[in-house]
Structures are given as C-alpha cells and as structure tokens.
C-alpha cells in the first residue's frame, strides 16, 4: 500500500505493508539510521520519533497510522536551532556515553522543552521515563536538559 506523509519537512509517499513498523520504513526505505532499534518492544525509546509533534516509539507504530501525519526524526531535528542547543548542552553536561540511546533522548527532550520550557527534575524524569539508558545513570542527561532549558530559554517559549 502507498502511504503519503510528511517526513522531516517533506511530503513523501512510499510503498510498504501498512502493518510494517514505522521504524523499519524509516531505516530501510529512507536510510534514517539515527532511529535505532534497541528492543522492538516499546521499552527502550531508542526508536523515538515525533508524530505530529508528540513522542512515539516507532517500533510500535504501524506504518498505516502515519498516513497524512508529520514525522520528524533526529535527522530532521538536526537542522533546527533547538537541536543545536540540546546538542551543545548534552556535550557540556557529559550526557553521552555509548550514545546508542542518545538520539531517542534528544527526541524526548525536544518534545518536553517545547511543552514545558522550564521543567523540574521530576518532570524531566517523567518525560524521559520511556528512554532507557544503561550507561549514564540518567543524572547527567538530566543536567543536560536543565542546561538546554536555560540556554534556549527564548526559543522554547517561542
């Protein structure tokens, strides 16, 4: 089945089984390797993307459900000023170790800050609770989020 949707700002149409996982379509039909498969069961968040601005785990999304929707992956986010702020903040806070989880975290962090420019510790933890990280113990990722909130203050409120 052919499905049209908006991907990282562009209208696209692609032929795929409507029951296939959005994750596979993004990685295999579009080569978007920043979307990672850590589990395929919705547990780890490494496959997170934005669907109409909301975080979703692309390994759980049947491709049919993106018809007419807008998907933004880390590759799309990368072009934005918001991304640059998050990137710099994660770099400075030492938030990255093996990095397999990181693109997924960036998606969750972006969605969080867009909705809540000044989150508290607990709210940050809630927002990233669907992203597993086995390396960092999370605290330095949370430090990165706080830094990004501060550095991008105007941007998030816009």
């Amino acid at each position: 089945m052919k499905v049209r949707f908006k991907l990282n700002g562009e209208e696209v149409e692609v032929e795929a089984n409507p029951a296939s996982r959005l994750l596979d379509v993004l990685r295999e039909k579009f080569g978007l390797i920043g979307v990672k498969e850590g589990c395929g069961e919705g547990e780890c968040g490494a496959c997170a993307v934005l669907l109409d601005g909301r975080v979703v785990h692309s390994c759980l999304v049947p491709f049919a459900n993106v018809m007419g929707k807008e998907i933004i992956t880390i590759e799309g986010l990368r072009k934005t000023e918001e991304y640059r702020i998050i990137e710099e903040s994660l770099l400075d806070a030492g938030s990255v170790q093996c990095g397999f989880c990181t693109p997924g975290f960036v998606i969750s962090i972006y969605a969080l800050l867009k909705n809540n420019p000044n989150p508290e510790d607990k709210e940050i933890r809630e927002a990233i609770s669907g992203n597993l990280c086995r390396c960092t113990g999370y605290q330095m990722i949370i430090d990165g989020v706080k830094l990004a909130a501060k550095r991008g203050e105007k941007l998030w409120k816009a």
């Binding site: 992956t73 770099l91 990095g99 397999f100 990181t102 597993l132 390396c135 605290q139």
Partner: protein
Amino acid sequence: MRDISKPVRRFDASEKIAGVARFVDDHYEEGMLYGKIVRSERVRAKIKAIKIPELPEGYHVISAKDIPGKNRIKMIFDDWPFLAEDVVNYFGEPILLVVGPEREKVYEISESIEIEYEDIPAILSVEEALLNKKPPIYGENNLFADYFFEKGDVENAFSEADEVIEEEFKTGFQEHIYLEPQGMIAKYNNGRIEVFGSMQCPFYVKNALIEEFDTKPDKIRVVQTTTGGGFGGKEEYPSQIAGIAALGAYKTGKTVKLVYDRAEDVEFTTKRHPSHIRIKGAVKNGKVIGIEVEIILNAGSYAGLSSVVLQRGMFAATGAYSIPNVRVIGKAVATNIVPMGAFRGFGAPQSIFAIETFMNHVAKRLGRDPVEFKLSHRYRKGDTTATGGLLRNEVRLPEIVNRVLSMSDYYSKKKEKKEGKKLYGIGFSMFLHGCGFTGNGEEILKSIARLKKRKDNKVEILISNVDMGQGPQTTLRKVVAEVLGIPYEDVIYENPDTDRVPDSGPTVASRTAMIVGGLLYRAAKELKEKWVDGEEIVVEKQYRHPEYIKWDQEKFKGDAYPEYSWGANVIEVEVDPITYEIDVKKAYAVFDLGTPLDRKIIEGQIHGGMLQGIGYATLEVMEQKDGRFMQRTITDYIVPTALDAPLFETDLVSQPYEHGPFGAKCAGELTFVGAAPAVCAAVEDALQIDLYEIPIRPEKLLTIMEKKNESEV
C-alpha cells in the same frame, strides 16, 4: 600544562547525538545476506536428526560440519562450540545458521527446520550439579574450577574465637542490557575473512576465528564498529556470533549480517554468575580474626571465563579488610543454562556483597556501629591482602569514609530517622577493586601499544581497545596530547582494526586507562623526545609488570593485582510499608581511583556503575524454571528508568599510581561493586531485619516481615 582531569567535550559524542555514528546494524551493503540462528529447543539433549526443507535459490543452512578448523571458541577451556555438534547443553544453544537475501524467507526457513532430539537428564541447579547424580556436563564432577587458598592459621582462629558466626548469601543472575544488541557483519574475499561488529575485544574475536578456520593470522581481519555499551557482555560472547557470521560468509562468499533481536539477546547471551557464598567468621575481642569463605558460582553450560571470574571473586573475598587468617574455597559449577560470562566487576560484586553484609551483621551482633567496626578492620599501607600481596600504596579509606559520611550526613540521618509514610533507611559500604587483569594475566598478555606520528604532525593511537561508552576515545587522546603538548584534536583514535593495530589486549578488567593508558603515556614520552616536524615516526611500548610484583598462579599467592582502587558508598532508601517496594532516593559515593583522566567521564562511570549496582540489588530479577529463564524479554527483565534512579552525589580522593598515566588507576568496575551492599544495608535499616540475598524483592520482604511481625506479637 592543562589539567588532565578537567572535563572536555567527548570526541565521539557529537556524531552519536546526531544519530550519524554507525553501529553495526546501521551498516548495509547491496547484496548482503541476513542470518538467523536456529537454536536448541531442549535444555539438554542429543541431536538425533535435522530435517531441512528444500531451500530456495540463494538460501543456505550452515552447521558445525561446515567449520574447516576447530569447532571450539578459543577461550581458557576448550569446550564451547560455535555451533552445537551432536549435543545441546542449554535451551537456545546455536545449532544452525540460516542465511539468505530476504529476512522474511530466512525466518520462514528457520521456523520450518525440524530437529529431533533425545533428551539427556538436565542439570537444572547448582545443588543438582554438586550432587552429581546425573551424567556430568563437564569432567567427572561438573566443576569447571575448584580452587582453594589460605593465609595464616584459620583452624586456630576458629578454636581461639569467642564466637563463630556463619552465614550464607545468595546473588542472582544479571543481564547486561547494553542498549545496542549484539551483532556482527562478516565478509569473505580472496581467502580472507573480515568481521565488523559490536565488541570489546577485537583480538579475542580474531584468535577465535584463526582456530575456527584453521588459518593464518593475516587471513583474518576484525574491525570494531561503534559499540553501544558492553559491560562485559561484549567481552567473550561476540567471538561466538562472529564465528557463526564468518562461517556464513565463508560458505556463501557473500556478506552476512547477523544482528540479534533484543529477545534473543536477553534470553541467550551470557549473564552475571549467580552465587552462593558461605562465610564463617571467628570473632575475638570484637574483631574478626579469621574467616572462611566458600564461593560457589553457577557457571552455566560451558566454561567460558568462569575460572577467572571465580578467581577474582575469591581474591575479593575479604573485601577491604585485613583479616590475619583466611581460607577461601571456590567452585565454578556447570549447569544446563546459557554460559555465564563477564560482567562489570567480574566475580567481585558477589563477594563484596557477601562480605559487606556479613560485616554489617557481625557489627550488629556485637552491638557495634558498622562503619566504625569496618574501619577498624580496614586495610592499611603495608598490610598483606588475602593472597598475601603487599599494599604498597597509601590506603586512604579513613578519608574516603569520612567524606562520604559527611556528604550524606550519615550519622544524623541514621539516628533521627525521617518520619513519613514510608520507612526510611540508610546504608553504608566500603570496598576495593583490583586493577587490571587478575594474577599474572598482564604478564602473559604482554600488551603492545603504538603511536604513529604522521607527516602532518598528527598523532594516531594504535591500540586494540575500544570505546563502548566508557570514554577512552577521550581520555586516551588527552593522555597522549598532554604528554606531547599538542592540541587534543591532533590526536587520532579510530575504532580498532586488527589489520592496523597491535594487540594491546582486551577492553576489560578496568585496564584500558591504567595499563594501556600507561603504555601510551610512555610511548608519548619517547615520541616527544624523538619528535621531528614533518616526519613519520612510530613508537611502540610493550607491557612489563613492575619488577616488585610477585605472583604464584598455582598457589594463588602474592600480588593478585598491581594496584587497587577504593571506595565507600552511602545509600538512602524508602520502603513502602504496605507493598514493600523499595525506592532508592539518594546515592553518595567517594572513590579513590587515582588521578581522574576526565572528571565528567569518571562521574558518568560512577552514576552508571552505581545505578547498575542498584538495579542488581533491587529490580533486576532473572529466575530459572525448568532450564529456561522466566524473564525472556526486555519487557520482563527490568532495568531502572530515570524515575527509578536516585540522585547521585560524588567526590574523589586521588592517590596516584606511579605506573598509571598521570597516576590513573582503575575506575569502570569499582563504581559497580559497592552499591548492592549499601542498598541492602539501607533496607535492613529501614525494616530492622537481616537480609542475605539480592535482588531484594518486595515479595521476599513481605514474607520476612510477616515472620518478624509474628515473632514480635
């Protein structure tokens, strides 16, 4: 001079954040084949017959018979096959590899293969293995290793004692859950095998393939792809996947990709060894004067690295305590479950949990404060360890302990417990970790590190150690740049490729910074002297144990490690009085790991290591039933999320090691070992009970509390 400890941005982080770093699954090649392993559906059986359906063109089924060389993964023992031959020893053991161009078809074929088995009575527990009533899995008695060492006169200590206290401890399985599942890509071209994948030890893989294909070293090339976490799980296990993938490539002449599904990874890769540890202590005049520790590890179905895991466990048996009379007994026992393997701490976490909890219990029995009681037994400079090794360097435990106590406000919190809906508890642990390989490991390995200065004056690090998240891409660059006085950016360090790098040993045992970093440090010093602008210069350094180190591998006598790192943890918990769920609120840690090569990277190691240790003590339940794990997916095997993680507060005390680069010692594993006993002590404090087992499940606490309440009524 720049401050080596001052944090810099990690060199590998930008591309990881952006999602452009290529992990093994991100590599794709036109015409590539996909592999799927067909696994045993029996716990222990003879393979009677294999029925393979007619295969469509381009699809192949590969078995042990296709292996040109030896069907054993090169490790310490020669018992673990790449693919099972006539017997299977655990549920999920690889038997066949199916490869082909379409995954769907590969899957279909693998599902339609029929294997006929004849069951052999399976050994489902350590107890059963030790009873030895069923045909043994290994040797005559199911023991992969059976060790013993002694110091002083233990019997005399027991006979002199005022009191003899004996307790038994248990620790469970633990799964690594590195976030990137295991995977390999193999190619076969002109008689050469090339393997790319997620791994810690390129030369382990290379050496395994040399034997598998009975070929010369120059016919095998192994390249590490950016690796999404390892924690020991990618130490020995990748050799098996690489061997299987390479066999596929060898048979078909095509590139073969073999990447695990998470469910395969959870159920069928190595785990941390569960343990039973019995400690018998002789107490006289308020001191433990003698101790007998018996450590029994469930090693699973093949020997793997279990003998060395057991050794490290045994050498850590007395923890950070100087006890004059010591007897340590250890057994690594074969059972029919996946082989247990390397996991951060490598046998030490089990022992440290047991000795720390034992010392707490003894202190309580004697009416002593556990911190003070432990400190009174602590190792000091000049003491000999359990194996009779000499502690040559300052042991700054008093400073470490004082700092963690004041940071956490331990005593006032312990005295005036927070009142609330939850039951509050606080716990303490202190511990050590031996740096680098156990015993004469480094001596045998004789690692080589190389620096190559290019004509453009950039310097390349050529070593076989990998960055799997722990940071050597950054720390080792800093070491070299610092010695040479050049910008960090002028040092190059690519993922190791065995065609280009010497064997500087595996990325294990917290040895990369201290041992390999030490070699690079010395190489850089030499390079600095030889430096000529615009010329290519190569410098190599080979490891030599410091002269003063003495070790007898037969008797386990002498310096088990060249150096030690030290630490103390305090953990605060709240236990729900109705459900007994444990909420770990705060974790404090002070470590002496020598000079930190980057404070942020070390902090990351501390948080990550401690959270893994907290998970090990609480949420991470893996149980075995009828030879299979009950928790087979990442949905059922639970690791902490951001909401389960405590707040961390950390500090460092730095006693440098003269042979470590800028005085660095070991860090990676040390951060793991103290968390579980501190959590356990905190829960004991909250509920006023004694515990002997991790993970501490609410299910268990409920029954303990029911008994306690009954006996109090």
